[in-house]
């Protein structure tokens, strides 16, 4: 693979984070039909761009500042100055050629920075549109004598901005995906406690929908708890599970069997009529799973099996009744 110049470690890891390598960059350009001709056209207007950069950027921020939505991002004048400078460099970079991995890294960084300050993606896209319009007018003006040439240049610029937009959207999407992943992980960890109920008895109340990923997480969690607590009995209560599909039902049966292989007996409580219907419909081998109606019966069953006996201490009423 052709790795350019001095690949700094963080660049490699940034590109890797978005899973964009040299090959992927090539593929994206091919898909946009962006080639050397486009590069040459773009670099040919670099001087023109330098000439107009300040005006374009000034107009651009005037436009941004005229909307409440975008103004709020640039309330600090110092920040605004910094951003303007960065924006000018960014704008000029469009016509400097060498759209390589360094270019891509730079675009990803800018995208990530905007994502971090939560600039909406619609504003981000509108910015590209603003540039395209600003440049279009000036290019057609400069090439009045050759409108065909002006159109070619403009189309090359369109390709490059769409290339950039693709990268920017990637940074947004991948950041959202990360957030969603983290939240799912947090929910998973919070959602199902394995509770030591009495010595040798564990309680696993499951609340909410179970997908097959959560189901396998639950199984692992339960089996580790069996080992760590030396539990002989486990009550899995599914009262709080609204819906069980065939995959989850068979997973439940597997969990009960895995618990048995570890030396523990699992009892399932809170099977609703709907869930019972699913289990029968998929032919889940219910003979291998002991089920009870509600959690209370489940607890009583587990206690009975492990040799506990519950006695109500109530001196007055019951003693009298029995005596009488």
């Amino acid at each position: 693979m052709d790795v350019k110049a001095h690949p700094r470690k963080d660049r490699a890891s940034l590109l890797q984070g978005y899973e964009i390598d040299e090959q992927e960059i090539r593929r994206r350009k091919q898909f946009l039909q962006f080639d050397e001709t486009d590069e040459t056209r773009l670099t040919s207007i670099n001087e023109l761009a330098m000439q107009y950069a300040d005006v374009v950027i000034e107009d651009f921020y005037k436009h941004l500042m005229s909307f409440d939505e975008t103004r709020s991002f640039f309330s600090d004048p110092q920040l605004l100055e910094r951003v303007k400078n960065a924006q000018k460099r960014y704008f000029l970079r469009l016509t400097k050629g060498n759209y390589d991995s360094e270019y891509v890294e730079n675009r990803l960084k800018i995208g990530a920075a905007h994502e971090r300050i939560s600039l909406p993606i619609k504003s981000y896209l509108a910015m590209y549109n603003f540039y395209l319009r600003a440049v279009a007018g000036r290019v057609f003006d400069a090439y009045k004598h050759d409108p065909g040439r002006a159109l070619d240049i403009f189309l090359s610029l369109t390709k490059l901005t769409f290339f950039d937009m693709g990268l920017a959207i990637d940074t947004y999407v991948s950041s959202r995906e990360r957030t969603i992943g983290d939240q799912q992980e947090a929910i998973r960890e919070l959602s199902t406690p394995v509770l030591p109920f009495r010595p040798g008895i564990l309680l696993l109340p499951i609340v909410g929908l179970i997908d097959s990923y959560r189901a396998s997480q639950l199984t692992e969690q339960l089996l580790r708890a069996i080992r760590d607590n030396r539990a002989k009995y486990v009550l899995v209560d599914i009262t709080g599970v609204p819906y069980v599909d065939s995959r989850v039902a068979s997973h439940l049966v597997q969990t009960v069997e895995a618990a048995r292989l570890m030396g523990a007996k699992a009892i399932v409580s809170g099977v609703s009529p709907e869930i019972a219907l699913t289990m029968v419909a998929i032919g889940a081998d219910l003979g291998r799973v002991e089920t009870v109606g509600d959690m209370q019966s489940g607890i009583e069953r587990a206690e009975q099996l492990s040799g506990y006996r519950m006695v109500r201490i109530d001196k007055d009423d019951q003693a009298d009744e029995q005596g009488g």
Binding site: T219, I226, R227, E257, A258, R260, L261, M262, G263
Partner: protein
Amino acid sequence: MLVPILKQEHCLIASIQGELSDAELLTLRDQLVAQVRQHRSRGVVIDVTVLDLMDSFAARTLRSIAQMTRLLGAQTVIAGIQPEVAISMVQLGLTLDHAIIALDLEDGLAILRSRGARENDAGHQP
């Protein structure tokens, strides 16, 4: 790897020390059966705590140990299957249906004691 077999009262304890090849598993089977016969043991605990994998051959060998020792009058308990191993076994389709299974060695010995006790009780009944 050789599996040490300890004798404790009427029981034999085989603690597996590491991964076993098929040949080593068969050696374990033969040794256990020979020792049950020799010591007239009433129970066997096979401690598999350190095994990080149980495939169909291992499961079949354990099953045949249990069947053979039962014919010689001893109950076999499998103890210490780890969570990951249990999950893999179930997905593979190994449920060790007729085996007695314990949490660990201690639980295994307790199960054998209580089963022995129950059988003795039954024997005393008219």
